[in-house]
């Protein structure tokens, strides 16, 4: 367990302060909606980062886990009247199990192969949900309007949602913080930097990757439940769509993959841009936020692959050979560990 330093205490206080003060700046519902979106995508970005930023599995299929979270809690609520809080945990566990099932066979895949595989899984999931009558297929499920209570996670105002999402984000950040300082965190980064070396040091790379995928999927599903409760309507198009997966990668990559605060920063930068662009331009500006995203991500990838936080964090995450800032804070793809088959499977 890492020691609680003064810096940690200050960081926690600063986080709580910002979370408490920002919604008070304006009473406009749209402003508060943007803040909640920052929290939601911050959470999704942090979750992606545990897998992508730390172990180097760049998933472009997070929407599947988001969808599992949204559908699990909603189905439990609609069919059995179970509280979304319980549904949130169930969805998270279910997503973690699915993630383990996907990660195990895919754990030998590297770089683009894993990315394509994650997309294939997410798209298959979307097709299945669209065609599964029990969950109303493409029609989607409107959540029944119930009492304004914490137990059912339904509120008239936006403040309770704000508190919930930033609490969840806080928990995810704490988990991330813990992972980064624990033995597991060192395993993760060792695997990301060189699979062979990590493996030769006796790290069970498959096991570590599965752990990362499960934690990541759990938080993504939790965010999915929150989304369902916030919007009160889900359908395959909104909770399993591909654009969602893209946005998740975007916030993490723009802010800085492999850093704790990077995804939060990315969400805080990108979400206002996309929300206000959509609001201002309306139907005429269809897709304009994604055009901007496309340009931003190309620029970031070409000019500054460490993300925006890379500007501030000069210190390499891991000391060692080749420990320049780009190599260690984002990825160190040496020729050998990019091969599609990893250390095993040479047949």
């Amino acid at each position: 367990m890492p020691k609680i330093s003064r810096k940690t205490v200050l960081t926690v206080l600063l986080y709580l302060g910002i979370v408490a003060i920002t919604p008070l700046c304006s009473k406009a519902p749209f402003y508060r909606h943007v803040l909640i979106m920052v929290g939601l995508y911050g959470l999704l970005g942090v979750a992606w980062n545990i897998m992508g930023g730390y172990t180097g599995l760049y998933s472009f299929g997070q929407s599947a886990y988001f969808g599992i979270g949204a559908y699990t809690s909603t189905m439990l609520l609609v069919k059995a009247g179970v509280s979304p809080w319980i549904g949130m945990i169930c969805g998270g566990i279910l997503a973690a199990i699915v993630a383990a099932g996907v990660a195990y066979p895919c754990s030998r895949l590297r770089g683009p192969y894993f990315t394509i595989a994650s997309q294939a899984v997410a798209r298959t999931f979307q097709i299945l949900m669209t065609n599964w009558d029990y969950v109303e297929g493409a029609i989607g499920i409107p959540l029944p309007l119930m009492a304004d209570t914490w137990w059912l996670m339904q509120f008239k105002g936006k403040m309770p949602y704000h508190i919930i999402i930033f609490s969840l984000l806080g928990i995810a950040i704490l988990v991330c913080y813990y992972i980064e300082r624990s033995r597991t965190g060192y395993y993760f980064r060792a695997i990301r930097d060189s699979e062979e070396v990590a493996s030769s040091l006796g790290i069970d790379t498959v096991r570590q990757r599965i752990i990362a995928a499960m934690v990541s999927a759990f938080f993504t599903a939790v965010a999915g439940t929150f989304y369902a409760q916030y919007v009160l309507y889900i359908d395959p198009e909104s909770v399993t769509q591909h654009a969602l997966s893209i946005e998740i990668v975007m916030v993490a990559a723009v802010g800085g993959a492999g850093t704790i605060w990077g995804p939060v920063l990315g969400a805080a930068i990108l979400m206002p841009i996309s929300q206000y662009a959509r609001a201002l331009l309306g139907g005429a500006g269809r897709g304009i936020d994604l055009i901007l995203y496309g340009i931003i991500i190309m620029l970031i990838a070409v000019v500054r692959p460490t993300g925006i936080l890379g500007f501030f964090q000069r210190k390499p995450a891991i000391e060692g050979e080749g420990g320049d800032d780009i190599g260690t804070t984002i990825t160190a793809s040496t020729g050998t560990d990019d091969e599609v088959r990893g250390s095993a499977g040479q047949s």
Binding site: R110, P112, A120, L290, M298, A301
Partner: protein, 289 residues
């Protein structure tokens, strides 16, 4: 044999030739430059829209405008290489993935912005008016037949170019060992530019041929990208012959899946095929070298 089954096999086969051509571009770029082009499907979309606009604005049949669009897309491909891809060739994996992915997001949404999300069909094509062609009691659309014949021709031309010309040999040499190729005096940068342009031309040509009968909309590329990944994984990343056979297989798997299970889930079956192949034979696919 059941007529429906023959019909499904035949349409799968015809579509398969188009998939082969799409996959060739992706495989070529990967094999030579070691970059997975996530924007591949978007270049297909671009080819489709170009064919559409040529047919609407200049009343040119896609089968005629293809002779303009192929060189045009070659230039576009070289431009994208010089402006973007070249900068990430020595970059990290994640920057390569993000760059081509960003390009795909940019292109798809730019098309959405410029041309609205409406579904369109190319008008006034020579091929559309002529209807069905009965073969052995089953009916296949003439546009599909023409598209697959066109794909075979373009594929054959690209194959000839890669295997039997001087430039093609330089491309092959670069693919095998870029440092070695540089040592014997091949200009690697030019070869990369040509390869990228060639890959984009191939997928664009497939787009033009598809435009004669397929719906044209900004996000059409994302599905074809996934199909192309599945095809290339099956054929082996970097294998030209593998792309050809795998394209046909994927076309047949897709249409048989639609026939035996449900048309709604046929793409899910294709994606699962990708998963199975990539897990069982990760590096080589079925025919990789």
């Amino acid at each position: 044999m059941n007529v429906g089954l023959v019909q499904a096999l035949l349409s799968g086969l015809l579509m398969g030739f188009v998939y082969s051509l799409i996959a060739l571009g992706l495989s070529l770029i990967y094999g030579v430059m070691d970059v997975v082009n996530f924007a591949h499907g978007e270049f297909l979309m671009l080819g489709m829209f170009l064919a559409y606009w040529f047919s609407v604005l200049f009343r040119l049949d896609p089968l005629i405008s293809i002779f303009i669009i192929i060189p045009l897309l070659f230039v576009v491909g070289v431009g994208v290489y010089k402006g973007l891809i070249k900068r990430i060739l020595n970059g990290t994996r994640i920057s390569q993935i993000l760059t081509t992915f960003g390009l795909s997001v940019f292109m798809a949404n730019m098309a959405m912005f410029l041309w609205t999300p409406n579904y369109r069909l190319a008008e006034r094509t020579l091929t559309r008016a002529t209807g069905d062609l009965p073969i052995f009691g089953v009916h296949v659309g003439i546009p599909e037949v023409i598209a697959s014949l066109g794909s075979i021709i373009v594929f054959a031309l690209a194959y000839y170019l890669i295997r039997f010309t001087r430039t093609g040999r330089a491309i092959q040499a670069t693919s095998i060992d870029s440092e070695g190729a540089r040592l014997v005096g091949i200009n690697i940068d030019n070869i990369y530019a040509i390869t990228f342009g060639l890959g984009i031309s191939c997928v664009g040509a497939a787009g033009v041929l598809l435009a004669t009968f397929y719906y044209i909309f900004p996000y059409v590329g994302t599905f074809f990208s996934m199909i192309a990944f599945a095809t290339v994984a099956l054929g082996g990343f970097g294998s030209v012959e593998g792309s050809f056979v795998a394209g046909i297989l994927i076309g047949i798997i897709e249409s048989l899946g639609g026939f035996f299970i449900s048309p709604a889930v046929k793409y899910a079956i294709v994606f699962m095929t990708y998963m199975v192949v990539i897990i069982l034979r990760p590096a080589t696919g079925l025919f990789g070298w």
